[in-house]
Structures are given as structure tokens and as C-alpha cells.
């Protein structure tokens, strides 16, 4: 039985469903739940953290647009805002649950999107993860005093801590970009040749840059020294192939003040395939 004392919540959660409060109360009495594998559970314990509870947040958001054949490639700013807000809402609720549990952070965060048949122009954005707390009792919350979030697995969390860094937050940048339809003349003109399509190239460059820059801005706000595990996802959701959301995700980290020596890794040749 862990020796973590239940911590009273600092403020009542703002917009979590009633069921959530009941469930979280059970967790505050000492039961922990997690979707961590046994490997991850043990590795997290090794770096001095204990899982507190499975936390989640979700938001169903209207994501429909009027499809038009715009002549120019451009960002669809209203949609960008919508995608960002929807995920922020889901993440914030998940963070609130973690806050309610008195957690220091959330690991293994997964962001998913669900589409339902009965909601054609809408999508559900979900964030789930496992809230963890330092067994030493020392707060490991981030610069904003909130539990850190990260999509790092238990193994990556362990490895990161070995290097003397700690996650600050899952940072993201998004950009919904519309790629102009090429006029009929232009299509016929280049038919049968292998040419670069400058429209597309330019559009993709710009969109990715926007997404990554926004992600970096979030990391700066957290006072991070770097971002690990960056990846770029591209989804058309339900908009057809000319409108794409570029989502850039990563975990912002800072160097901790603790002096940590990196153990020398052992080299092995594994004999299994």
C-alpha cells in the first residue's frame, strides 16, 4: 500500500461530469488505476513516482465547413481555432482530473479522435493518460504550477529522468490548411510530365511550419529547454482531400536541478528476431 496521503483538491473542478468527481474520490482514498503496462508501472516506480489514477478528458466539437474550391492555398483559421480549442478542452479536463487527484503529472497521454455516424460534422476529441505523483512528496509540477503532461511511455519517462530532465507538458501546434484546386488549364498543361507541383509544395511547407512554430511557442511559455518525441500528424478528418489538419506534437522538457549521472549502457547482440 503506498504511503501517499490523499491531498485535498485546491479548487473544485470546473466542468467535469458528476460521475468523474465520484470516481476521482475513490482514487483519492488510495486505489490507483492505470493503463500502464507492468513494465511501465515498474519503471515509473524506479524513478520515484507512483501511479495515482487513470485520467481522461473529452470534448465533442463541431468541425464542419462549407467546402468550396478556393483558388488560393490558405489556412482556414476558424477551423484551426476549432481543432485547437477542441483538443485544449479535452486536455484541460484531463489535467483537472489530475489536479483533483493531487498528481504531479500525467504520463502516457494519448490524443484520439472519434467520429460517430450520428454526428456527421462533429468529432469527439479525447485525451487519456495515467496521473503520477512523486513518492518523495516534493512537487514536480511545471512552471505554471500545473501537473505536467507528456505522451512519453513509461520507458521513455524512465530514460528521460536518467538524463536529468523532466517533462513540463505536452505541447501542440495545429494548422488547418486548404490546398487550392488546380484550374483545368493548369492540369491539362502538365499532364503526362513529371513536374513539381509548386502549389502543393508551398502549401505543405507553410502548413507544417505554422504547426511547428505554434508548438514551439507553447514550449517557450512553459520555459522549456527542449522538446522531445516530436511528431507531425496529418489528417483530413471529414473534409475531403484538399483540406488537411497538420498537428505537431511533442513533450517539452527542462533540466532538473538534480545532479544525475547517466549510467553507461551495456551493448548486447540479441539473438531473437
Amino acid at each position: 500500500m503506498s504511503d501517499i496521503q490523499p491531498v485535498p483538491p485546491e479548487e473544485p473542478p470546473q466542468d467535469l461530469p458528476e460521475g468523474a468527481s465520484r470516481r476521482l474520490a475513490e482514487l483519492e482514498h488510495g486505489l490507483f488505476t492505470s493503463d500502464l503496462s507492468v513494465n511501465e508501472f515498474l519503471l515509473i516506480k524506479e524513478v520515484g513516482f507512483h501511479p495515482v489514477g487513470f485520467v481522461m478528458g473529452s470534448s465533442i466539437y463541431h468541425t464542419g465547413i462549407q467546402t468550396r474550391k478556393w483558388g488560393q492555398s490558405q489556412e482556414l483559421t476558424k477551423l484551426t481555432e476549432a481543432m485547437y480549442n477542441a483538443r485544449e478542452l479535452a486536455m484541460t479536463r484531463m489535467e483537472e482530473e489530475a489536479l483533483e487527484l493531487g498528481a504531479d503529472g500525467v504520463v502516457g497521454v494519448r490524443l484520439d479522435v472519434n467520429y460517430y455516424e450520428w454526428g456527421k460534422d462533429a468529432a469527439e476529441f479525447i485525451a487519456v493518460g495515467t496521473a503520477v505523483k512523486a513518492e518523495s512528496g516534493v512537487s514536480h509540477r511545471n512552471k505554471l504550477g500545473k501537473p505536467f503532461t507528456s505522451d512519453l511511455s513509461g520507458q521513455d519517462f524512465w530514460t528521460l529522468m536518467q538524463t536529468g530532465h523532466i517533462p513540463q507538458g505536452l505541447v501542440m501546434g495545429t494548422c488547418v490548411y486548404h490546398i487550392a484546386h488546380r484550374g483545368l488549364g493548369a492540369t491539362l498543361g502538365s499532364a503526362g510530365q513529371n513536374v513539381e507541383l509548386p502549389n502543393f509544395t508551398q502549401a505543405l511547407y507553410e502548413a507544417r511550419e505554422l504547426a511547428m512554430t505554434r508548438m514551439q511557442d507553447e514550449a517557450n511559455e512553459l520555459g522549456a529547454s527542449g522538446i522531445v518525441g516530436v511528431r507531425l500528424e496529418e489528417k483530413s478528418h471529414q473534409w475531403g482531400s484538399h483540406t488537411i489538419e497538420f498537428l505537431s506534437l511533442g513533450t517539452a522538457v527542462v533540466k532538473t536541478s538534480d545532479e544525475v549521472t547517466l549510467p553507461r549502457p551495456t551493448t548486447i547482440i540479441s539473438l531473437d528476431n
Binding site: L42, L43, Q155, W158, T159, P265, T266, I268, L271, D272, N273
Partner: protein, 303 residues
């Protein structure tokens, strides 16, 4: 390898010719092949056995097969359990009587198909001078809609370097290959043969099972709404028990390792169902005292 002067057993002649040609063929992957050589097993050839059986059983009733199926096959034998309707006579459509029974004729036919295919594979391997067969794969598949089932068993025939041929002339067999086989032997187990058995239990639903399975609105159902469908659950439980029992009876004093239990339930309407359960595994024999390894060290990969 000497060319046999006539086809052994009832193998088609083409199979014999393939063995005599010399260069071996093998169904093993490269790592499995390497592990075989490491163990001192030389692949000798790819070996297979087939058997096609007429298959009209599925969904049939014991009454419907031209006047007494049951009588043709010696009656219903094995598991049988009645499920009487608790309501008394209600109407012609109300199923006042139900029964679970083991379809022994289905089990016998499956066993015949499987063991014939298996025996042919073993014969083919033996005719090539093999000591054992590794990496066995078996499948049971309907051939189009002709009402036939094809049983296939195939594997890689091997010889043990500096080893002796099997005493009874029948090569040993195992589903395992490669590293898994190496570890099995290191752990002190000898592969004896594959073991497989089927069980087939028919659910002839009574009224309660009928209503519960179809979610009927009948007033007789409402009293038991949301209940467990005990008749079908019993059939499922018994089917697994029978399959396990039949495999155990093939084991002698040996153990079953690396088993796989697969269950299929075919719903036939009005609550009727057929539960078929196949258990496959490796019959293994301990040939040396088990030497437990020390607790392995946990590691985290950097890649």
C-alpha cells in the same frame, strides 16, 4: 536418399518422386532454419498430408438426415442433457422441450479427416528418412460450397545429426520450430507429437433459451429478462471440457505444452446453436531434470 520402389501406404506417387529429387525444400523462415541447424536438425524436405471429407453436418438435426441419423451412427452417445420448459403446454410454437447433446458423428468425422491427413504427412516424411517434423501447420477449410471439408497438415521434415531413426518408424512431430523448439529442449522437454481434438455440442433450444437468445417480447420471457442463457453456457462449458478430455486421452503420461483452444459458436436461429471447440497442442515428455534458469535481468532498450 534411396528411392522407394513403390509408393508407401496410400500416398499418391507424386509425393514420392518429390522426395527422391535431392535438394530439400523447406517451409521454415531463415531464423527458424538457422536455429534448426544449430540444434543439429537437418531439414530434409517439406511434407504434407491432405484429406477431403464430405461434410453435411453443420446445422443438421438428428431427425432430419433421412430417417434417423442417430440410428445410423449408433444413436446419440456421449454428453446429453435435457432442458424442459417450465411452463407446461402452451402452443405448437412454444418449444416445450430442449436438449444439449454431443454430436459424436461430427467429432468422429473430424477426427478421421484430421488423423488421415496427419498420417499421410508422417508417412511422407518417414519415406524420406526423416526423424521428426517441425513447424507443423494444420488447417480445416470448406472447399467452395460443395459440402466438403479439406483437412491439411504440413511441416518441415528433419533428421537429427548423428541421431537414430525413431523406434517405430514414425517421426516425432511438433507445432514448434526455431528458437521456441530450442528452448523447449533446453528446458528438458522432448517433443513427442502434436495433439488435436474437436468437440461438437448441439443446442436444441427450449423456450427459455429461445426467448433469451432472440430477446423475444413473449410474456414468458419477461420473467427471465436479462438472465443468463444457461443452456447455451452449459454447452460452451461442456464443449471445452470434452475437447480437453479427448486431448488428454492422447497424452499417455506426457504433458500438453503451448496449447491453443479455439471455440466457434454457430447460431442456427430460434436459439439453436452449435458449439465447436478445437484444442491443439504439443505433446511433450520430460527427458531430463528441469534446470531452472536464474531470474532474468530487466533491461530497457535504447533503440
Amino acid at each position: 536418399m534411396a528411392v522407394p520402389s513403390e509408393a508407401p501406404g496410400d500416398l499418391p506417387e507424386a509425393a514420392v518422386r518429390r522426395f527422391a529429387e535431392g535438394a530439400f525444400t523447406s517451409g521454415l523462415t531463415v531464423p527458424d532454419f538457422a536455429a534448426c541447424l544449430q540444434m543439429g536438425l537437418e531439414p530434409v524436405g517439406f511434407t504434407q498430408g491432405y484429406c477431403v471429407m464430405q461434410w453435411q453436418w453443420y446445422g443438421s438435426s438428428p431427425m432430419g438426415m433421412g430417417g434417423g441419423f442417430g440410428s445410423q451412427w449408433g444413436g446419440i452417445r456421449g454428453y446429453s442433457e435435457t432442458w424442459n420448459c417450465p411452463h407446461g403446454f402452451v402452443s405448437g410454437e412454444h418449444r416445450s422441450w430442449g436438449q444439449n447433446y454431443e454430436q459424436a458423428w461430427v467429432e468422429d468425422a473430424w477426427t478421421t479427416g484430421f488423423s488421415t491427413a496427419y498420417d499421410r504427412m508422417v508417412e511422407e516424411a518417414a519415406s524420406g528418412g526423416a526423424h521428426g517434423i517441425v513447424g507443423v501447420v494444420d488447417s480445416v477449410q470448406p472447399l467452395s460450397d460443395m459440402g466438403v471439408l479439406e483437412f491439411r497438415v504440413q511441416g518441415t521434415a528433419v533428421r537429427v545429426t548423428d541421431g537414430v531413426p525413431p523406434a517405430d518408424g514414425r517421426p516425432w512431430t511438433t507445432y514448434l520450430a526455431g528458437q521456441r523448439l530450442t528452448k523447449l529442449v533446453e528446458a528438458g522437454y522432448a517433443p513427442v507429437s502434436i495433439a488435436a481434438a474437436v468437440s461438437s455440442v448441439r443446442v436444441w433450444a427450449n423456450c427459455v433459451t429461445h426467448y433469451l437468445t432472440e430477446g423475444s417480447n413473449s410474456m414468458f420471457a419477461s420473467a427471465t429478462a436479462g438472465s443468463e442463457i444457461t443452456q447455451t453456457v452449459t454447452a460452451q462449458t461442456v464443449a471445452r471440457k470434452i475437447a480437453t478430455h479427448r486431448v488428454r486421452s492422447q497424452l499417455g503420461h506426457d504433458s500438453l505444452h503451448g496449447a491453443a483452444l479455439s471455440t466457434v459458436q454457430r447460431e442456427l436461429g430460434e436459439g439453436d446453436a452449435e458449439v465447436e471447440c478445437v484444442l491443439r497442442g504439443n505433446r511433450v515428455r520430460r527427458f531430463k531434470e528441469f534446470d531452472p534458469m536464474p531470474a532474468p535481468r530487466p533491461t530497457v532498450r535504447m533503440l
